[in-house]
Symmetry: C2
């Protein structure tokens, strides 16, 4: 994870020396200015505060950092530690001479990568540390969608349990686990990175037998790797497939690909129409991957059984009249994938360490390779 | 599972012959009368309907069978196929000369076992077939309780997401998975039968390292068996412990013991006070095992993190002013543990086959051993 970005050209090197000088001049104290857009709490903040050579500027209110404040602080700063909501674009980068942008997130769709590469600014992010927390929520949503958790919990919340009539098939849903007479269970992954594989590992003892996945089209198929996965996960097969096969073969489709324009609405009406009627769709990646209107139609008309979403297009602007909020078979959570104390603390600490490494020119815990994006 | 009950004494044998004769006489057709308290659906009912030697009487309404109707039908019946809500007591058994009671449930707390044994009536039930479905819901509830699913889904249902302010630790809960820097995870089981072991098997890839369990006190500790479990589940240890250790050592306590007077309120105030503040309690067995008032107090005062309940004392009479329904950290479901199409169909088919085996004096798919209960 700790890969250095491309060696700066001599022009860039010159520019970096100027930046460093500029930073020192602007703080007027010989210290490096670092801007932090959220208080990271009592466990992670000391990593930054204890460094006396830093001039730390922190947005201390318990709400998202105001853009105007952030833009005002960037001049003279060597580093900025920011969140998914803080756009890193020309407007921001033009304000100063940053050495490092450190985002407390695994995603970086809020960052203009080519521009960062062009300006010789390093980018730290926080992959890996959230894999387990997100995989947990992914399995939870597959279970909740299959087992009608929204509808059935609602029966109790609305006080309807006393008057509901038990019958042999009441509240029934499809079963995630394979149990006789079920012969096979296929997990499908749109994207097959760290979180997808951590999810698959958790599904194995539920009796899953097969896995199909769609990978980044810029990579080449690798049957040898698929055979290794088959053995590693103790399944009957793991196969890279096209997106139509993913839709039609899966009992559960897990959306775990990066967001952005290239993957927008990969799950659309055509995809949903190809899915099994008893299948469920789980999205714990980015809302833009799934066409919300198509999904609402699929649920309303019974093309698929149910959906479990931790993310949705246009979040957090999701109101009670949103078509998916109204669907009883659509379990929705407010983007809590990485929301465990352990994981958020690790993310905060990783972002703090990346910031320090960036301003002091050291190796980061996790740096994104920017070569080729400029 | 197909164990025959104790050989009837010669008196019982005589009585059984009389019962059989009586059954034939009463239907007046030479056929055996069988009473069924719920329509089992188009897949399971034919198992009974195709047997022309049966005189089938079915409660056909889509609501619980009326007691008066059931009592009226028992005279002359050789067998009855019934549900958890239908009490099998002296009142019912006095009405006729049943050869078999077949319950579509794994539990049999609605059945007077000693009386059944005394009268020489066989009891069929439906264990095993629901193990996977219940284990799935058990894991789901552990995840939902840890990850604040009731509170966070509620944020969306109440339209609060657009105005909620993201912060690094918002919506956070303890993490079910072990991930660095977490060193250990301990699953605790109150009862360590089929469903508990199926649950534990599912937890292993979440990174659980240890298991503690409390077993039926009438059985003797077996360290050799525990060592075998440790190896089988690939854990650092599996240990039978006392109930205090179960409470204090577990990150999740799973209640998976039988209901009834002997296990009533095993999870009480003393137990809950010994649990870790970050631990969760999951009950997918029987509501009577957990003292609801003590649990509500534990959640309100933060003795434990959260609870996930598929069952609750006094169900289904649980209204919106129930103290647990009001707790935001108490995820509640209306007893859907076995509610998958596959499992309920298998349960219905098993109950039908048990009924047939009972009336025709054959080996059942699953018969409860009644020896020693009389």
């Amino acid at each position: 994870m700790s890969s250095e970005s491309a060696s700066p050209s001599s022009m860039q090197a010159t520019r970096q020396r100027l930046m460093s000088i500029a930073s020192h001049l602007r703080t007027g104290s010989g210290r490096m200015k670092v801007v932090v857009t959220r208080d990271l709490g009592p466990d992670a903040m000391p990593l930054l505060r204890e460094r006396k050579e830093l001039d730390l500027v922190v947005w201390s209110e318990n709400r998202a950092c105001e853009r105007a404040w952030l833009l005002e602080q960037i001049p003279g700063a060597a580093g900025v530690l920011l969140m998914l909501a803080d756009k890193v674009n020309e407007e921001l980068l033009d304000k100063g001479f940053l050495k490092v942008v450190s985002t407390m997130s695994v995603g970086y769709e809020h960052v203009d990568l080519p521009l960062l590469a062009k300006r010789g600014v390093r980018l730290g992010y926080t992959p890996d540390v959230l894999t387990d927390a997100v995989a947990d929520v992914t399995v939870m949503l597959a279970l909740m969608a299959s087992r009608n958790a929204k509808e059935t919990a609602g029966v109790i919340d609305r006080g309807e349990w006393p008057n509901s009539t038990w019958s042999p098939f009441i509240f029934c849903g499809p079963q995630l686990s394979r149990t006789p007479p079920i012969q096979t269970r296929t997990a499908g992954f749109l994207g097959f990175g760290r979180i997808a594989q951590a999810t698959l590992r958790r599904l194995v003892p539920f009796g899953f037998t097969h896995c199909v996945y769609v990978a980044n089209p810029s990579t080449v198929p690798n049957p040898v790797q698929d055979a290794a996965y088959t053995k590693q996960f103790n399944l009957q097969s793991v196969r890279r497939v096209d997106i139509d096969t993913l839709a039609s073969a899966s009992d559960v489709v897990f959306v775990l690909a990066p967001g952005g324009d290239k993957t927008r609405h990969l799950v659309n009406e055509a995809f949903l129409r190809k899915m099994k009627k008893t299948a469920v769709l789980v999205n714990t990646a980015r809302g833009t991957l799934v066409d919300s209107d198509a999904l609402a139609k699929a649920l309303k008309e019974g093309w698929i059984w149910a959906a479990g979403l931790d993310v949705v297009e246009g979040e957090p602007n999701v109101t009670v009249d949103h078509p998916l909020v109204k669907e009883p078979r659509c379990v929705m959570l407010p983007h809590i994938g990485s929301a465990t104390f352990d994981t958020r603390l690790s993310m905060a600490a990783c972002a703090a360490r990346n910031t320090l490494a960036g301003v002091f020119g050291e190796t980061m815990q996790a740096e994104l390779e920017l070569k080729g994006t400029a």
